[in-house]
């Protein structure tokens, strides 16, 4: 089970009315390397991974939902008062036609989220290597989002999220070392 705390993991402040940024940010909402994919990937893989690293997948998978909520907040704030004309100018006319102002799990190009983005191979090393790659890809996505954005407050939150991806990648790498069961022995091969 989960316990919900009614606050964001990190504050989300948006200083400019810029619906175009929302269009880009959706990539981390419902994209292949986004937070939804991450959360669902880890929380599903944990059933068939050695006990020692189940807790890690639970923790990180849970945190990804906290990140998802931050991205949702950003997108919501950037679009909530936008007129259909403004959305159209921001390249969100198609989104408006389908969803009005509602959020939807899709990537920046409008492709809906799909479970084919994620895998559970049942092989612990294969799964953890996918997880490491997913974190590095999410880190890169945040880099490109920061490069695209001129909103200093938004970038502050994006930088926090990017740093979390670095830490997640580090912990998944350590999980691989734990499963190799050699990390604390000084061995010369």
């Amino acid at each position: 089970m989960w316990i919900y705390e009614k606050k964001l993991q990190y504050p989300v402040r948006v200083s400019t009315c810029n619906p175009t940024l929302a269009k880009y940010l959706i990539e981390q909402y419902g994209g292949a390397d986004g937070e939804l994919a991450a959360a669902l990937r880890y929380l599903n893989q944990r059933y068939t991974i050695p006990d020692k690293v189940i807790g890690l997948l639970t923790d990180i998978g849970t945190e990804e939902f906290a990140h998802l909520e931050m991205i949702a907040t950003m997108v919501y704030k950037l679009t909530k008062d936008a007129t259909p004309e403004q959305l159209k100018a921001a390249g969100l006319g198609e989104h408006y036609a389908n969803h009005d102002g509602a959020l939807f799990y899709q990537n920046a190009a409008g492709s809906p989220w799909t479970a084919t983005y994620i895998q559970a191979k049942g092989d612990p090393i294969a799964d953890l290597y996918e997880d490491i790659a997913a974190e590095e890809k999410a880190r890169a996505t945040y880099q490109w989002l920061i490069d695209l954005s001129d909103d200093p407050d938004l970038n502050d939150s994006l930088r926090f999220l990017r740093e979390r991806e670095i830490i997640h990648a580090q912990r998944f790498r350590e999980a691989v070392e734990i499963l190799k069961e050699e990390w604390d022995t000084k061995k010369v091969f």
């Binding site: 200093p152 670095i166 830490i167 990648a169 580090q170 350590e174 070392e177």
Partner: protein, 76 residues
């Protein structure tokens, strides 16, 4: 100076349609160099850590865009 940003220089043709970018950069964050986290690494204060997104100074590697870099970036 040592940096986690690395650079490479792609081939430039005299027929490139756009003005070539001579130097491309990519990020190699600190966790790539550390391996299994050793004990007793230096920590941020709790407040700094909440801002930075990590408790561990060695893993902190913020990304700034060109404009922010011109403004000097912001550290916790």
């Amino acid at each position: 100076m040592y940096t986690h940003l690395k650079f490479y220089h792609p081939f430039v043709s005299s027929f490139d349609p756009c003005k070539p970018i001579l130097e491309k950069k990519y990020s190699t964050p600190p966790h790539l160099y550390i391996g299994f986290q050793p004990p007793n690494l230096p920590q941020f204060s709790p407040f700094e850590a909440l801002k930075a997104g990590t408790l561990w100074k060695d893993f902190y590697d913020p990304w700034f865009n060109t404009y922010e870099k011109q403004m000097g970036g912001v550290l916790p």
